[in-house]
Amino acid sequence: MKKVLHNPLALIGFIIIAGILLLALIAPLIAPYDPEAINVKAILLSPSTAHLMGTDGLGRDVFTRMLYGSRISLMVGFVAVGIATAIGIVLGAIAGFYRGWVDTAIMRIVDVMLSIPTFFLILAVIAFLTPSIWNIMIVIGLTSWMGVTRLVRAEFLSLRNREFVLAAQALGAKDTRLIFRHLLPNSLTPIIVSSILGIASAVLVESGLSFLGLGVQAPQASWGNILTDGKEYIQFAWWLSLFPGLAILITVLGYNLLGDGLRDAYNPRSSQH
């Protein structure tokens, strides 16, 4: 962790993410309005002291919706990546530990999944399952585990023949013990890095789905659908698209900086300083 904090990029990323998580956490405490309360007398007000980020086409307070939207957007990121990472670890561990035909089979599945354009797959599945926040999280998760699988497998393959593993095995350690006590803990860093980068891309995917009308559905606020609501007024009510756009940009930036910084910090080959 110290290493990370010495990397300025990672530090910035860390601060951004911590700040946004904090805001999401205390959203109900600091939100000045009800996120779904519409006010027909206050449509499209520009930012002021009463409405820090203005109001939208339904007279809702954009700042409040941004705060609540951060919860949805971050939740989509976390749950989707949680699912992907869980699948990736299980499949990657099995493939990397047992090798042989199991490995071949799993890696062929990975190849198949990687050859179908992911966004097409997500769109098709969400359309058939009806867009809802849970379906979106599950589908993003189910279509983005391949990277983690490859990563875990590669780590396991390289760790598998290290002395400490061989020694443990010689001492009669069970497979599960080997995996959970020896191999997995030593592969954790790249998994964490890839999860952090995964959250960033899940937030972007959600905003893209919102743009296409297949993301988190109104009246629930997500950054993606606030931004989509604002796109028709981009020349007139700039605050409607600027704030959610910047929020997505900064958050994704934060995750990328942190993820990349972590990778640099723990990857001896590319850390030159």
């Binding site: 198949v112 966004f119 359309a127």
Partner: protein, 339 residues
């Protein structure tokens, strides 16, 4: 080399089999069946006509038979005709008895998407390579910082937001570039040259938007690859042998840093094709992404299945090409040292 090629080619068969399974599974995700989730109010459509659809798509047969028929369709690239678009053939043109040719939907959309993606790849290579190299050579200097920041913003910005802002800026405020579509009014009356220029102008923003993420990713990749290579022993050796710095960098380092890039390009194809949905929807470009999105909104199953399959096949071909290129560039692979 030939042996490698043949082997590599046969690798694709299990993948195609897997793709057929996944696409078939998706087709059966919808509760009920595909005829009940059509996206139109059609109170007068009789149960009889639904039955016709079911027969057409073999929905009345056992699942295993349906799958067999689906594989057969995939193998012959026969995806039938669209539900939604006046029975247009999904994949390739058909000719009726009077000799009228109806173009296939994918047949028309694919070249447009391929053109945009090829241009994006050219943009990515043309811009990301120098950026990555500069970034690596000027490590931790101002240029490196600026490029890195650009890279991260390129990763992080929602594409459609940037697209709309650029459309407003270059299209409405300054009239530098057309806003959407592929052609200006009167395009068909222009000379060959001005037609090409017209189309290229329309493609500037879409290509930039669809290439942006790749551009960011590749320049970062090149930077890190270069850095890694520059610290390898053989570079130190080359330097110590007194080779000129330029020669070291461009002759040895860059070449080795670029090798993995070939694979990366192969892997980036599905992302580019998938990413075309948003760019094409916002810029009103009738490519694969727009076609797919429309099909999804209309629940037009034959088109959805056709595009999923063709998209996957394209990716496989892209990967094959990348692997072949890699084998050609790296003798170790060719000789089968590395698998």
């Amino acid at each position: 080399m030939l042996k490698y090629l043949i082997k590599r080619f046969f690798w694709m068969i299990p993948l195609l089999f897997g793709i057929s399974l996944i696409s078939f599974f998706i087709m059966h995700l919808a509760p009920g069946d595909i005829t009940t989730s059509e996206a139109s109010f059609n109170p007068k459509a009789s149960e009889e006509s639904r039955q016709k659809l079911r027969e057409l798509y073999s929905l009345d047969k056992p699942v295993i038979v349906q799958y067999g028929l689906w594989v057969k369709r995939m193998a012959t690239l026969d995806f039938g005709t669209s539900f939604a678009s006046h029975q247009r053939p999904v994949f390739w043109q058909t000719k009726d008895k009077d000799g009228n040719i109806t173009l296939g939907m994918i047949q028309e959309a694919l070249p447009i998407t391929l053109l945009i993606n090829v241009l994006s790849l050219i943009l990515i290579i043309g811009v990301a390579l120098p950026l990555g190299v500069i970034s690596a050579l000027k490590q931790n200097q101002l240029a490196d910082r600026a490029i890195t920041l650009f890279v991260f913003i390129g990763f992080a910005i929602p594409g459609f937001w940037l697209a709309l802002m650029l459309m407003y800026w270059t299209g409405v405020q300054h009239a530098w570039l057309p806003i959407s579509g592929l052609e200006s009014m009167g395009h068909e009356n222009m000379t060959w040259l001005s037609r090409t220029i017209d189309t290229l102008k329309h493609l500037v923003l879409p290509v930039f938007i669809s290439g942006l993420t790749g551009l960011a990713g590749i320049s970062l990749f090149v930077r890190n690859g270069m850095l890694e290579v520059l610290h390898q022993d053989y570079i130190t050796t080359a330097r110590s042998k007194g080779l000129k710095e330029n020669r070291v960098i461009y002759g040895h380092a860059l070449r080795n840093a670029l090798l993995p890039l070939i694979t990366i390009f192969g892997l980036s194809i599905p992302g580019l094709i998938g990413g075309s949905v948003i760019a094409e929807s916002i810029f009103a470009i009738p490519g694969m992404g727009k076609l797919f999105y429309d099909a999804v909104l209309m629940r037009d199953f034959p088109v959805i299945m056709g595009i999923l399959t063709i998209g996957a096949v394209l990716t496989l071909i892209g990967n094959l090409l990348a692997d072949v290129a890699y084998a050609w560039a790296d003798p170790r692979v060719r000789r089968g040292v590395m698998q």
